[in-house]
Point group: C2
């Protein structure tokens, strides 16, 4: 499903070079549940952006569903992103002057759902994250953790076959986090693939495989018995 | 030092009313170390914004240093904010097209430091959070946790007498979090006041008093023996 081979991502800034990813190779098969951990700045978000076709590596190859990402057109990439991938961004990336409901409906517009279907599916997704009563509120009328939950609802609304979640519980208290992890578990049980970045041990423990990054390299990649 | 008496903060949105703070009374003396906890949406950031003079309550009184915040002019409030308070925002609030160093220097401009002093103090604050080599990089060239650390450096650069930190370790791995908590401990040991919002138990345990919010009310306010 996902195969990274010798991936590097290098930023050149003046006379300083930052190797965000410094030679990473990894395979993830369909239906796996992987947690990516590592210190701040170790390359987790960069790796998620490469996997989610939002960023291109400096060197190395990335194959998604057997096709080289580098050989795909922008249209191909956009189509895979819209049809297969649900992304929870570390910075949420909600549209500002747009209600929670409209933010969550966005992936459904690409999926060609009717307005009635979109409204029902988006409302259900918001109810699943405990925000059914806030559907017509804008992001700036919501708390930090509420905005994060809208971003999660948007990523899950279309039952993606690959969920990429970058620190999805960073702004949530433990009880709300448990509710979110239960939603991810439902998606996983349906045979979908979950790739989760987290710095919280007890969130990582839900995964069946733990990958640790340090300074842009994989220093650990082992199966995990989930809690 | 800080006295909240029957504080409410109510948002009226159409026919729906959200009581972000629903009658809160609390006193914090100089030199205390308080952790504020509670579920997502329970009113933690709203309380911090009232304490930090960034938001006015709907009803109730807020006294800071014996003066009614409601009776202060905008200039008085700005002066207290610049001279006494260091704020780590939940959303970091860094200036986008500005380097890390310039972001951290900002409070020192208000404090009337010379350019040479500002440069030295800001660089030292960045080194304290492990980002000395990234001083001329912009926020969009940094990872999520690196941006959070720039926001922490900016809040600490002028040794504030009151530190208001809203989820300061939300984007940080545990090792980096320990380093940040050590910086807060240094500030506390110098006799300053620390008020910290967190949803992480092991961060809250550094405080000497734990306050828990639920639905805009204080449901717990007890001393804590710090780790
Ligand atoms: N500008 C606003 N307009 C309307 N409602 C608001 C506004 N700001 C906050 N609220 C609401 O007030 C309540 C408290 O918000 P607050 O940001 O204080 O919560 P919080 O405890 O910090 O949550 P989190 O842990 O998710 O950051 C929430 O239900 C939120 O939606
Ligand atoms: N646009 C950019 N320009 C320059 N450097 C960048 C850029 N984006 C990321 N980096 C650098 O690449 C490294 C890896 O960044 P990345 O965002 O992947 O880290 P991370 O593991 O997600 O960190 P965090 O846990 O703090 O979110 C960091 O040192 C970061 O500063
Ligand atoms: Mg990141
Ligand atoms: Mg908050």
């Amino acid at each position: 499903l996902i195969r990274l081979t010798d991936i590097t991502k290098v930023y050149q800034m003046g006379d300083m070079e930052v190797r965000a990813l410094d030679g990473v190779s990894m395979e993830i098969r369909r239906g796996e549940y992987v947690a990516i951990m590592g210190p701040s700045g170790s390359g987790k978000s960069t790796m998620m952006n490469v996997i989610g076709c939002l960023d291109t590596p400096t060197t190395g190859t990335y194959e998604l569903n057997g096709k080289l990402a580098s050989a795909m057109t922008d249209d191909d990439l956009a189509q895979i992103r819209n049809e297969e991938i649900g992304f929870v961004f570390q910075t949420f990336n909600l549209l500002a002057r747009t209600t929670s409901l409209q933010n969550v409906e966005l992936p459904l517009i690409y999926a060609g759902k009717t307005p009635v279907e979109r409204h029902q599916m988006a409302l259900k997704a918001l109810e699943n994250v405990g925000l059914g009563t806030r559907s017509d509120h804008m992001p700036n009328q919501l708390s930090g953790g509420q905005r994060q939950r809208v971003a999660i609802a948007r990523a899950l609304v279309n039952d993606p076959s690959i969920l990429l979640a970058d620190e999805p519980t960073g702004a949530l208290d433990s009880k709300t986090s448990v509710e979110i992890m239960a939603l991810f578990e439902d998606l996983y049980q349906k045979g979908n693939t979950i790739i989760l970045v987290t710095h919280e041990e007890d969130i990582a423990r839900h995964a069946h495989r733990i990958v640790k990054l340090r300074d842009g390299k994989i220093i650990h990649d082992e199966p995990n018995t989930p809690i």
